[in-house]
C-alpha cells in the first residue's frame, strides 16, 4: 500500500478505498457527520497547501473565502432566488475575483507583512458578514436551503458523506496534477528562490496570484459544501480562529504534502472529539498535542512518517 502512495493514481485509489470502506465500520450516523467534516476541511486545507506549501506564501485570512462560499449558498437561494448550485459557483467566482483584486497588491509583500495583510482581509470579510445582518443574519447566522438536484433532495449525513468524499477526491486529483507541470514547478521554484525564479523567466507575481486564487476557490467550495451540509451558516466560519485552524491543518500534516493536508484535517477534526473525555481540559490537551507534535515532527506528520518508511513520497 505504501508503494502505491508514490503515484498520483495510487494515492487517489487508496483514498477512494478508505472513503468507500469507512462506512462499513461506522456504528452510527454521528460518524458519517464527523467524517464528512474531515473531508470538507481536508479539501480546504489542500487548497491552502498549494499556496503555502508549494508557492511558499502565507495566508492568515483564508477563512474569509470559506465564509464567502458558505454565505453564497445561504444568501443566494434565500434572498436572490438563485439555485444553490449556481450560488455555489457564484460564490466561487466572487472568491476568485476578490482573491485576484486583493492578491495583486498584497502578494508583493513578504513574510510577516503578507501574513498581516491576509489577516486583515479575513477580519474584514468576517466583519462585513457580522454587520450586514439584513442579508446574513448577523452574529446569529442564518439557515441554508437544502440542495435539490433534478428533484432529488440532498439530505442525511450518509448522503453528504458521499458528496464530500467525492469532492475531496476531485480536489486531491487536481492538487496532485499540479506537480510535474510548468505551473507546479514555477510555484515550487519561487518558494525556494524568488530571485533565481525571476531570472529564469518566471513572472513571480503572476504565479503567486494564481496560487492565491486557486486556494481561494478551494476554500470557497469547501465553505459552500459545509453550509449546504449543515443547513446553517454562522460568522465563525469566516473568522480568524477558523483561518488559524486551516493553517494548523496544513502545517501539522506537512507543508507541500497533499496527503498531509488530509491527515492534518483528520487529526484536527477528530482530536477534539476524542479529547472530550478530558472535559474542561479539552482545549489544553489539544494545544499541548499540537505543540509537542510540531517539536518532534517539524516538517509535519506525513513528511516525517514518509522519511521513516523510506522510499515513498507524499
Amino acid at each position: 500500500m505504501l508503494a502505491a502512495l508514490r503515484h498520483r493514481y495510487g494515492i487517489l485509489l487508496v483514498l477512494a478505498v478508505i472513503i468507500a470502506a469507512l462506512p462499513l465500520v461506522f456504528p452510527s450516523s454521528y460518524y458519517f457527520r464527523v467524517a464528512s467534516l474531515v473531508w470538507v476541511s481536508a479539501f480546504a486545507a489542500i487548497g491552502l497547501n498549494i499556496l503555502m506549501g508549494k508557492a511558499g506564501q502565507v495566508s492568515l485570512g483564508h477563512a474569509g473565502f470559506f465564509g464567502i462560499g458558505a454565505y453564497a449558498v445561504a444568501i443566494g437561494p434565500t434572498h436572490l432566488g438563485v439555485p444553490p448550485l449556481a450560488a455555489m459557483l457564484l460564490g466561487c467566482a466572487l472568491s476568485a475575483l476578490l482573491a485576484f483584486l486583493v492578491g495583486r497588491p498584497i502578494l508583493r509583500l513578504k513574510g510577516h507583512y503578507l501574513a498581516i495583510a491576509t489577516l486583515g482581509f479575513g477580519v474584514l470579510v468576517a466583519l462585513v458578514i457580522t454587520t450586514e445582518s439584513r442579508w446574513t443574519g448577523g452574529p446569529d447566522g442564518m439557515s441554508v436551503m437544502k440542495l435539490t438536484l433534478f428533484g432529488w433532495r440532498a439530505s442525511g449525513s450518509d448522503t453528504w458523506y458521499w458528496i464530500t468524499g467525492g469532492l475531496l477526491l476531485a480536489g486531491t486529483w487536481i492538487a496532485l496534477n499540479l506537480d510535474e507541470t510548468p505551473t507546479g514547478r514555477a510555484f515550487r521554484a519561487l518558494h525556494d528562490s524568488e530571485i533565481a525564479a525571476r531570472v529564469t523567466g518566471i513572472n513571480v507575481n503572476r504565479f503567486k496570484l494564481q496560487a492565491f486564487v486557486i486556494a481561494a476557490v478551494y476554500a470557497s467550495l469547501a465553505g459552500s459544501a459545509l453550509a449546504l451540509m449543515n443547513g446553517f451558516v454562522n460568522p465563525d466560519q469566516a473568522g480568524f480562529l477558523h483561518s488559524i485552524e486551516m493553517v494548523t491543518m496544513v502545517v501539522l500534516g506537512g507543508l507541500g504534502s497533499v496527503v498531509g493536508s488530509i491527515v492534518g484535517a483528520a487529526v484536527l477534526i477528530m482530536l477534539p472529539q476524542l479529547l472530550t473525555v478530558f472535559q474542561e481540559y479539552e482545549n489544553l490537551m489539544l494545544g499541548a498535542i499540537i505543540i509537542v507534535s510540531m517539536i518532534f515532527m517539524r516538517d509535519g506528520i506525513v513528511p516525517v512518517l514518509s522519511k521513516f518508511m523510506t522510499g515513498w513520497r507524499a
Binding site: P182, T183, V199
Partner: protein, 260 residues
Amino acid sequence: MTILKVSDIGISFGGLKAIDGVGFSVEAGQIFSIIGPNGAGKTTLFNVISGIYEASQGRIELAGRDVTRLEPDALAARGLSRTFQNLQIFQRMTAVENVMVGRHLREKCNLFADLFRLPSVTHQNKETRAAALAFLDEVGLRDQADTPAGALSYGACKRLEIARALAAEPRVLLLDEPAAGCNSVETEEIDRLICRVAAKGIAVVLVEHDMKLVMKISNRILALERGRPLIEGSPGEVRANPAVLEAYLGKHGAREAARA
C-alpha cells in the same frame, strides 16, 4: 555581431556609488571577463544587467534593443541567463527539476491545462525532462538527475546552476564566479564547459578570480576598481600592464597573472 551592449552604467546605494560609468560590449560566441578585487562592483553590475537592480544612469541593449528598465523575467525572455556567486538553487527540487525550471520559457504554461494535467502537458513534460537531462549531461551531472538539489555538493551545485541557465538556450550568459570553491579538476571542467558554450555562439560574460582561467579563455577583459573601469583589452594587453594589475590584484595576483 554585438549581442550585449552596456553603456555608462551607474548605481549608488545610500549616496555611495557602487558602479560609475561602466560600459562594454560583447559579441556572440565571445568570452568577456570582468575582473577586480572584492567589492569592486562585479556582482552589482550583473544585478543591474539582469534587471534585479535598476541603474540610476546608463543604458543596456540586448540584440540591438533597449532593455534598460526591463524586469528580470522579461530579460530572460529576450535571451539573458545568469548564475549566482552565492548559490541560488531550488533546494527542495531534484537536480533535473531545477534544470526543467530553466526550460520554463521554452514551455507552454497554461493553468487550466496544468490543473487537469491534459495529455499535452504530460507529453510536454516528457520533452522537457529529456532536454533537461541533456543539459545535465553537458555539465556532468547526468548521474545525479534525481538527487534532491539540497543534497548535492558545492561544486555540483555550481554546475547545476550553469545547466539551469543553459537550459533556457540564452543568447547571453552571465557567470558570477563559477569556479569559486572548486578544486583544480572541477575548474578544468568548468573551463572546458565555458569554451563549449561560447563555441555554440552564446556570448559569455565571466566574473572570476582564477586569473589563470581568465587569461586563458577570455577574448577580452575589463578590469574594475571601486566601481570604475580601470582598463579594457585583450588578455595580452591586460597582462602587459603589471602596474595596473598590481593596483587591484595585489603583488601576489600580479605575479600569478604574469606567470599564467
